[in-house]
Symmetry: D2
Subunit: 348 residues, 4 copies
Amino acid sequence: MNTNTSRQGQPFQAFEIGAQQGLDSLRQVTRDTPDIPPGEVLVRVRAAALNHRDLSILKGQYGARKSETRVPGGDGAGEVVAVGEGVDGVQLGDRVTAPHFVRWIDGEYDPAVFVADLGSSRDGWLSEYILLPAAALVKLPDGMSDEDAAALGAAGITAWTVLQTLGQMKPGDWVLTLGTGGVSILALQIASIAGARVAITSSSDDKLAIARELGADITVNYRKDPEWATTVRAATGGRGVDIVVETVGLATLEQSLSACAPNARVGLLGALGGRPEDGVQLGNLILGNVILKGITSGSRRMLEDLLTAFDTNGVQPKIDRVFPFAETPAALDYLANARHVGKIVIAG
Amino acid sequence: MNTNTSRQGQPFQAFEIGAQQGLDSLRQVTRDTPDIPPGEVLVRVRAAALNHRDLSILKGQYGARKSETRVPGGDGAGEVVAVGEGVDGVQLGDRVTAPHFVRWIDGEYDPAVFVADLGSSRDGWLSEYILLPAAALVKLPDGMSDEDAAALGAAGITAWTVLQTLGQMKPGDWVLTLGTGGVSILALQIASIAGARVAITSSSDDKLAIARELGADITVNYRKDPEWATTVRAATGGRGVDIVVETVGLATLEQSLSACAPNARVGLLGALGGRPEDGVQLGNLILGNVILKGITSGSRRMLEDLLTAFDTNGVQPKIDRVFPFAETPAALDYLANARHVGKIVIAG
Amino acid sequence: MNTNTSRQGQPFQAFEIGAQQGLDSLRQVTRDTPDIPPGEVLVRVRAAALNHRDLSILKGQYGARKSETRVPGGDGAGEVVAVGEGVDGVQLGDRVTAPHFVRWIDGEYDPAVFVADLGSSRDGWLSEYILLPAAALVKLPDGMSDEDAAALGAAGITAWTVLQTLGQMKPGDWVLTLGTGGVSILALQIASIAGARVAITSSSDDKLAIARELGADITVNYRKDPEWATTVRAATGGRGVDIVVETVGLATLEQSLSACAPNARVGLLGALGGRPEDGVQLGNLILGNVILKGITSGSRRMLEDLLTAFDTNGVQPKIDRVFPFAETPAALDYLANARHVGKIVIAG
Amino acid sequence: MNTNTSRQGQPFQAFEIGAQQGLDSLRQVTRDTPDIPPGEVLVRVRAAALNHRDLSILKGQYGARKSETRVPGGDGAGEVVAVGEGVDGVQLGDRVTAPHFVRWIDGEYDPAVFVADLGSSRDGWLSEYILLPAAALVKLPDGMSDEDAAALGAAGITAWTVLQTLGQMKPGDWVLTLGTGGVSILALQIASIAGARVAITSSSDDKLAIARELGADITVNYRKDPEWATTVRAATGGRGVDIVVETVGLATLEQSLSACAPNARVGLLGALGGRPEDGVQLGNLILGNVILKGITSGSRRMLEDLLTAFDTNGVQPKIDRVFPFAETPAALDYLANARHVGKIVIAG
């Protein structure tokens, strides 16, 4: 089947970042629909979702991209409108998404996945059209909206990796997750689906109220209660939590470790808070035989499992706000100000 | 602390099996409260639960017991009324249960666990009092009744082993379980708690209706639909199930295997149906790279995790009927006739 | 870099199978060097290795190929002579091999890998040149010959999957492997490298003598000793073996299971011996809580680990005989007659 | 069988620590052979081995013991001379050892194991006789000396836990281990048995020469080469090591992490070097998705597997020096001065 000819050369709208860096460097441009390489498909984007990773890319703090232009956006969903040569099992009209590391199909993390990273080393979803390798596609469950699939994306894969792959979560486990950003709220939702108990922190009682509605068992305002880890441990009957989704990083890790039960598993996601040169005291890791692992997103298989988990349990990812495509810069600004609970989505 | 003196020598009631075999061999007797060995505790039994294993023991088909007398009963819960020397961390009045393999604390199956097997090589729960090693005790969560803790017991541990230890169950997985006996119904309940989907079979539409109320997604009457595995596979969209709780055994295994997705995990519990000399065709196991494992109950750690999972999710194990202590023989007869859905409990 | 032009259109020699089936259907042909698709490389074949899978393909018993022509050969090694667009990290002159399922990069078995299967759904190694996806390539360690790399291939990956991925082999474990074909002898060599003990069977004392030289601890002639599993169990001190590489399949599985220690892991490779309709008694699987899994080859990551294991331990895969390229039909005939110990290689 | 009477009340020699702390607090005393509790055995000690843990206990830095007297010594081997009631499967004359956490039979770390810890919360091996729970015993392989079994003990279990349980070591893996103390040298020996490659550090070229004889592939004098991690990484071809046995702890962890390959596993054993309040930079853990776990010894099952691995591979644990029983204080002093390579053993 050669369905490669339908849109070639037709213009479409996209956001683009160029050589300069910073949130201001984003500009809306017109591009021409490219040829579709063998093994790839062209997708009409219906929804995209934002992550802190997108802000880091815009600031030049993530990946090696420096001089070329690039369409940002690691997460999205849309409809297949053209199919390259040698593609099996994908039909025009299929509703699809993909992991931002489009070569990470299954198995363990491999730094080689960065060579094909949507929004960083490869054009991403903040565009009307996107090229994707067929091998990376995940079909959307029938009942799932494009917005919801986009919202799960990288944040959901990351939470899933911590809870399932590293955490081996089982019903009844205690999960601690920090803040109300995308990863943390999706971790809360996944844990609730799986019958685990959740403790969550925030500086806002309003956000914590939303977290309780989403299933949180313990909510702690870390501004009012700086010894939040002690509070969390007490709430578990003194034993501590089984899994930590350490979304903040080095600045909070010592406290997270002090909330851990023996053999707990802690997924360390990065350095939103804290600087790499900050040292972390690890006494509690030794005493509790705790496992700490650096986590960098996950595979296509995890994304497929994640979509299935939400779809079959009738749970929708918590979306804070949906912006139209043209207001993408405003959406990124909203993300940077951290007023949200859950995901920020672009639709259109 | 020597709390060893309170009841020594006082009489109590128990059921006992002797040299002869069969359900008729059970008799109610009066025993004297024994000395409590170091490291053990005396428990006033508040509830016991029955398993097919108890019928097999009565028939002389399980374990090596032949000539001595023995109190049957692998599952139960009660209150600590006396504590032997050298016991740490157990208080008078603690409400406790234990795995029937009282030396299986954690880790893998080891045939050595049969040397201390409640109801078989060691006196069990169908009695007013029972001696238990302190190391095997699991404390009941505050809100859990003795009946519910007893009902979870061996059947729940077995289902947990298949779903969690072997099955690595995650939300969205498809679980197939056969029949509406204790293991199967508890597997259904555990899978529901964990956000998995469940297909279940029975010869009775009434039983299947109860299974649906307990959360089953697919119910198949295997009497009306002898090609039940084909039906189950179709209901999963053609992909097949991820985990099978093969409660029947050799007689149904070929069909179970034909319902499996690639890399599915099948826990084979025994030989309720089928004879050991029956051969099983394994073509589907090879094609699907399916994992098949023989399963023999589980450890104290699993029992503790199991109680936590039910307690913290506010789910009660499905109890079909509760019999008073004196009617234990009638309860065993009721079990043998397989009219139940879930567990049969003795309280008193 | 476009190095795509060097050989296009130049003729080369290959073996080919057409519509008809059977060993006789193989014929030597001249082909023209194709264009190199994006993401692929052209490799000058220096060595290929044979497997029973190749015989099955020739007989039309494996895969879906029926009518088109196809170059057989799942295993080989050679030198990169041209590189397609978009290929990172591969240089002209690199010495490489690949798993026959060229899309299985990492992670679990997925039946989708059959769509790109060297020698079956995609042209294989029995040719002077082969096209390979860059993502599938494994570079040869400096000191490893092309013949040795080819010899490891599918048979080594399969043995590795059973011993490492399924078997979780550790030093001191007992491994049972059947026969002296490629998979079995490579399993013996891998187990020896890893400090495990090996029991191996054969109908030939001469072959068993070679197995002993390669490190086998126990050798049993199953023709002279039909109760070979009893002999193997006795040799382990009565406890049984920890891992079985069940190369024969259904015809020997019952005996293999009877040689197993508790919690043993058995990799069932196929149906060389026995028919799918033959039933297998599984009583020993239940009693010993044994794990049985169907195994279908493995991933690029496993192949890379395998090459590293042999290279760094200074062990060469046992090659029975090397045939020149033109004598490929004779080599396949030699394989079909099962006189070999280890691998049969084509070089040239 | 009641073999409980043979030695009761007879005097024997032991070393003992009392209320005061420090190496000087050790004194040789005469004790009377105790009654043997049900489930326990009396063992005539033939060999003991020393660990830094023993020094910590003497200094009052490990465990809760403060005021009572205690026989130190976590590792040893000897002969069963009397058996308590209810003990199955142990014969007079059996040569045995046990893990120092005598209640850790199998499965995961549980802080509850500290309640029965040889040499700390329970009398240990620096004595002519020791009481041991039958459930904790491991029989010595026929060909293994008491000295070798004692030398494996806690240090070997710890190395095994890092390499096998956490590390999932496979042939060809790179292992980094620090220093030439007991854990590090046993890690080197286990890794060599399993076909892995080893990099090891020391401040002494003489010790490194011994390490090379024992199989080390890379040896680095960290005094001469303060950037030892860079050297180790370079020696692995730039990729880094797969497993780290971090025997020193916080003082060296940052460098260890910088030597790690992606997905490496690091077992952090304690705080020989560095203070708990020292912070550790974890940037390399995040970048490489490295796993870091606190490790506290291991189970009876691991000890059994460890003895089997050495015995069946014909490898003897590296013993630096053997002291007679009466010179135990001198042996501890020798350990404290860290001039040894491998284990220090007491025999007699």
